[in-house]
């Protein structure tokens, strides 16, 4: 089984969120070095904004420059909870709608993915039977799953788009949980299993008192990675289904040839994703220490 993608994803996100501050050996720069955690990111942001100005002024004249973007985004940011219409709401309201949809789909992913991971970890036969399917389904993009979801839930009428979105989120977000849980189950030390064997614990007690606690650290790594993917998928799901939310708003504004709020949506998606990841790593670390 190729688990290599999981550690790669971990290290990639670790690199992205913890920029190592540059070391300045020279002693007269100590004062600067003290504030570099603040200054360097500001310099980075300034550079990107500068590039944005330059781009909107030269190469892509249709891209609204930062000032225009701010002007047009102001109502959404300063009145974050306003509701002027189904697809014209404050940015926090949109975020909330997106988060609810993600939470539902993510929960489904965990409810299906965790037991599936356990089964794969416990049974070589099941691994052999299912691993090829998983490896083939795992790289499939949400954009490909969504139409299938629509077809599946055509009969559900008005609920079809929500069900299709949930299906897409769940099926895309489930894989890291499945794979890391399976790895965790296989990594349970024989010593712990021997304790269960010697005590003749029932299957249920072996599972709840020994195997699940021993696998928890792995499971939570999977949960964190899954949440990241669930959030990635929400945008695609909302775009295609036209549901209100950050992604739906972005797509609607683009279609209405209003480009000013696109960047606002991108930034919101990024910030929310970052916060979710941080929250999950706090939870994850709590379970690492046992």
């Amino acid at each position: 089984m190729r688990d290599s993608t999981v550690p790669t994803a971990i290290s990639a996100s670790a690199v992205a969120v913890t920029p190592t501050p540059a070391k300045l050996p020279s002693s007269n720069r100590v004062a600067f070095a003290k504030f570099d955690w603040l200054l360097l990111p500001l310099v980075g942001i300034a550079a990107v904004v500068g590039l944005w100005f330059a781009l909107s002024a030269t190469l892509s004249k249709d891209l609204p420059n930062p000032i225009k973007t701010w002007e047009a985004s102001k109502p959404y940011i300063l009145e974050p909870l306003a509701k002027r219409g189904e697809l014209d709401q404050g940015i926090l309201r949109f975020t909330w709608l997106s988060l609810i949809l993600v939470a539902k789909g993510y929960l489904m992913a965990l409810v299906v993915g965790t037991p599936l991971g356990f089964v794969l970890g416990l049974s070589k036969t099941m691994t052999k039977a299912l691993d090829p399917i998983i490896q083939v389904l795992r790289p499939v993009s949400p954009l490909a799953w969504l139409p299938l979801g629509m077809v599946l839930f055509l009969g559900a009428g008005r609920q079809a788009s929500e069900l299709a979105a949930l299906f897409t989120i769940a099926i895309c977000a489930m894989w890291p949980t499945v794979l890391t849980t399976a790895v965790g189950v296989r990594a349970i030390p024989q010593d712990y299993l021997n304790v269960a064997k010697v005590l003749k614990l029932s299957r249920w007690n072996t599972l709840t008192k020994v195997m699940i606690p021993a696998t928890l650290p792995y499971m939570f790594t999977g949960f964190r990675l899954s949440l990241g993917i669930a959030w990635l998928v929400i945008v695609a799901a909302e775009m295609l289904t036209g549901r209100p939310g950050v992604g739906g708003f972005l797509w609607q504004q683009y279609n209405a040839l209003v480009y000013e709020q696109i960047i606002l949506c991108i930034l919101t998606i990024g910030v929310v994703g970052f916060i979710l990841d941080r929250l999950m790593s706090v939870v994850e670390r709590r379970f690492k220490t046992i």
Partner: protein, 267 residues
Amino acid sequence: MKAYCELFNLTKTYPSPNGPAVIVKDFNLRLAEGEFVTLIGHSGCGKSTVLSMVAGLNSITDGGIILAGRELAGPGPDRGMVFQSPSLLPWMTAYENVMIGINQVFFTASKQERHQIAEYYLSVVGLADAMEKRPLELSQGMRQWVGIARAFALKPKMLLLDEPFGMLDSLTRYELQGVLLELWRKNRITALMVTHDVDEALYLSDRVVCMTDGPEAEVGDIIHVNFPRPRNRKEVMEHPDYYPLRERLIEFLEVHAHRRRPKHAAA
């Protein structure tokens, strides 16, 4: 001697690329009830293999084991295991680690009684104040104490110890040997212990079983240790038989262990 536990023609082979590897062959040993027997031999000769077969954690290729009149099949809480590393469950406190076994074995007892058993054995080993600590918060010696308390608390028919003090410093080791001996004397549980340490073997056991080197390891020599009990380390070491016995053990390990004995000669 009336055997309480009997290992007869115990044999273990592992499959290997060049045919089956016979690790232990025709291992015969009889333990009386309440006897303390140590198993000594060179590293890799198959001591742990024998012990884990008695524990039921390793399959028996040939021969068998009878305990209290019944042939053993698979693991069970009637044999208390103490490993070199105590293998406590790290997400449970010391108390919970002892309790999980007690709940399983004494499921008919009241909650109060079960609690008392756990508390009693943990205090006997001096962990009354550390019951609510997790293994990671305990020292190596304390963890081993929990492991020993866990084994005794289940009132097993037999105690199996695989180098239980191997990873400890000598001071802690002496202390633990004393506690183990005291617990064993009070409960009189038949014990089979693996060790590398000649002095430990003489201090603790009624008989020392020397194993020949593998492959096809078997019982080489059996030494009776008749120091009076209860024992005290100083008295044991000053006993006139101590050094002759020690010499005999070391000579076996240095000279005879390497030579295969003719069949039938083994006890």
